[in-house]
């Protein structure tokens, strides 16, 4: 599985009294929109067919996401 550059990782405190087997780390996503204040004009575009499939016209605004089911999390 290719690493998702939008993914952040953190660990949590494990108590010896936690009943479930501890997970080594937790993750969350910081999508690309957090780094754009105002979209600049003239960004490169997807073709219409590609834009539909990605859910956006601009590759720079595309945020990938992989199901945790497929990542075994």
């Amino acid at each position: 599985m290719k690493a998702n550059p939008e993914e952040r990782v953190y660990s949590v405190f494990h108590s010896p009294f936690d009943p479930c087997p501890p997970k080594p780390y937790r993750t969350y996503v910081v999508p690309v929109n957090q780094f754009i204040v105002f979209q600049p004009p003239g960004l490169p575009q997807f073709s219409p067919a590609e834009a539909l499939r990605h859910g956006t016209l601009w590759p720079a605004l595309y945020s990938p996401y992989t199901s945790r089911k497929f990542k075994g999390e």
């Binding site: 004009p41 834009a51 539909l52």
Partner: protein, 91 residues
């Protein structure tokens, strides 16, 4: 097409539909972008050009598969085509 309605499993219907969905999607994207960038002339030109392409493709699609819009935004054959299925969530 016997009666201008999409037939189950007609690959051409799904292909044309997706072409139209793609063009219309770019128009939605550009429309929202232009709502906050009203001075971007290049994007307005692209918007107008795609609107023209969309009009041609939608006309072709409607000739084959019936009207896309209600309330007089598309012509009807006999009997009245609009209320005939299948509906978008059924195909």
């Amino acid at each position: 097409m016997t009666d201008g309605r999409p037939q189950a499993g007609d690959p051409k219907y799904y292909e044309l539909l997706e072409q139209l969905q793609a063009l219309d999607f770019v128009l939605v994207e550009l429309n929202l972008y232009l709502d906050t960038h009203p001075d971007d002339l290049k994007s307005i030109e692209q918007f107008n050009k795609l609107t023209q392409e969309r009009t041609i493709l939608a006309k072709h699609f409607q000739e084959l598969y019936g009207p896309l819009q209600n309330f007089g935004r598309a012509y009807s054959k006999y009997p009245f085509e609009w209320a005939q299925g299948p509906w978008p969530w059924q195909v």
